[in-house]
């Protein structure tokens, strides 16, 4: 599905990602962990094209997308849920979703029933403006907005950050359902180890822009955590 090979990404003159390589298989969930500033979000932004890699290659289903514009990557099947969620505050829940459909180039931009099937909490608030939603509602809307684009690859940046336990549990169930029911792979950036261990097949740890460790989630032992994720 996704093949990232030896990418180097910069912000201006700051070299953020160094020779990063990573593979996400069909229907697989891979988690990326790392301390703050390790380059996790930059990796997602390189894959989406917001911060394209300077060197190296990124392939989606064997198509080289390394220098492709962001909107073309979206149409190819990459959807991104950023950490800040980026809900448009003056648009309603339904309008936020309709806008995502437009971004994908879908002619019929009515909110599909599938959204309320996955996110029943959004149905009664479909007419409410994005800016007045709680953090949990915003996160559900952000994932819903990505999901209606029928992605092949879903990129989630810390989807549980700042959320109450019951909403974390809901997000966990929704991600599991997406993996089971939709033909979609997930690349997840997350700090909660129990969450990662529960839903992940493979993991990668970024340390100052380098891949410091990766493997099957069974190899994400306390010793590995202590070695690479200690403050």
């Amino acid at each position: 599905m996704l093949r990232v090979k030896d990418i180097n990404t910069f912000y201006g003159t700051s070299h953020i990602l160094h020779q990063v390589s990573l593979i996400v298989g069909d229907g697989e969930l891979v988690s990326v962990l790392g301390r703050n500033g390790a380059g996790k979000t930059t990796l997602l932004r390189s894959i989406t094209g917001i911060n394209p890699a300077k060197t190296g290659t990124i392939e989606l289903d064997d198509i080289d997308i390394t220098q492709m514009k962001s909107h073309k990557r979206t149409r190819l099947g990459i959807s991104y849920v950023p950490q800040a969620r980026q809900i448009i505050p003056d648009l309603t829940v339904a309008e936020n979703i309709e806008l995502a459909l437009l971004g994908k180039g879908m002619a019929n931009n009515r909110v599909p029933q599938m959204v309320f099937d996955y996110f029943p909490a959004l149905e009664p608030i479909a007419g409410r403006k994005g800016g007045v939603l709680s953090g949990g509602q915003q996160q559900q809307l952000a994932i819903a907005r990505a999901l209606v684009q029928e992605p092949k690859l879903l990129l989630l940046d810390e989807p549980t950050e700042g959320l109450q336990p019951s909403v974390v549990e809901e997000i966990q169930m929704i991600i599991k359902r997406i993996l089971a029911e939709r033909q979609c792979s997930v690349l997840l950036v997350e700090q909660r180890l129990d969450f990662v261990r529960d839903i992940t097949q493979r993991f990668a740890i970024l340390e100052t822009g380098h891949i410091a460790a990766q493997g099957d989630v069974s190899e994400l032992t306390d010793a590995v955590v202590k070695k690479h994720l200690q403050v």
């Binding site: 301390r35 959320l163 109450q164 019951s166 549990e169 809901e170 909660r192 955590v225």
Partner: protein, 247 residues
């Protein structure tokens, strides 16, 4: 006597009731954790206590004095300090200097900018740096610190201002689990000498430090008591913890 006593606080914004006749108190030297769903009114409560917003009705007493409607700087001088979710500090100053200007006697920043550091100040700063495990970073500018270290520096600055009550709003946001563990340990240490009200969602952190918790829902207190009892409360499970309550 309660150090902080909130009586019948109501806040209505644009027709929405955020706090609904909320009554709540904390005793001196308590470490209280405030839980509740996103949107329950936790941050609003803190903003009312620190004077950022004025309540529609109700009273806030601190140390026996009515502080309702007072300005944020008057409330700060009275002894209440707040830590926001995003750290505030002087980015280009060193860790040491950031703590210097937060010392209790330095509540007037400009006075300290042009004053020599006394041996007593210097000793106190190093004491705080050691206490908060920041001594090895003393001479580094704040903007070179990691996310976790920035949070700890802001906690250190709060300690330096020597408040009677510290209000900490989600201080572990964005941290790795190891960072959260260390922050929880630091908060426990701070609570040995201060009264602390902590807003926190991460149940690992809450379990590590909580003695007594208050759960808010829809602007009111839903449950209050020892953590082990509150997490078994069916209403708390329904609105906040979920089935597992593991996160």
């Amino acid at each position: 006597m309660a150090l902080l006593d909130v009586q019948g606080l109501t806040t209505v914004v644009s027709g929405y009731t955020i706090l609904n006749n909320l009554s709540f108190s904390i005793d001196e030297n308590e470490l209280r954790v405030l839980l509740g769903p996103n949107g329950a009114g936790k941050t609003t409560l803190i903003s009312m206590v620190t004077g950022q917003f004025k309540p529609t009705s109700g009273k806030i007493f601190f140390n026996g004095e009515d502080i309702t409607g007072r300005s944020p700087d008057e409330i700060f001088i009275a002894g209440i300090s707040r830590k926001f979710q995003v750290p505030n500090m002087y980015e280009t100053l060193s860790v040491y200097d950031n703590i210097l200007i937060s010392l209790q006697s330095a509540r007037k920043v400009f006075k300290y900018m042009f004053k020599r550091v006394t041996p007593e100040d210097n000793e106190r700063i190093w004491e705080i740096l050691d206490f908060m495990e920041l001594a090895r970073k003393a001479n580094e500018p704040a903007d070179t610190l990691s996310h976790g270290e920035r949070q700890w520096l802001e906690l250190a600055m709060l300690v330096a201002s020597n408040p009677k009550l510290l209000l900490l709003d989600e201080p572990t946001t964005g941290m790795t689990e190891e960072g959260k563990r260390r922050t929880a340990a630091l908060i426990q240490r701070i609570a040995q000498n201060h009264t602390v009200l902590l807003v926190e969602h991460d149940m690992h952190v809450v379990r590590q430090i909580a003695r007594k918790v208050t759960v808010m829902h829809q602007g009111q207190v839903l449950a209050e008591g020892a953590l082990d009892e509150v997490v078994e409360n069916e209403m708390v499970k329904a609105v906040y913890l979920g089935k597992g309550g593991q996160h």
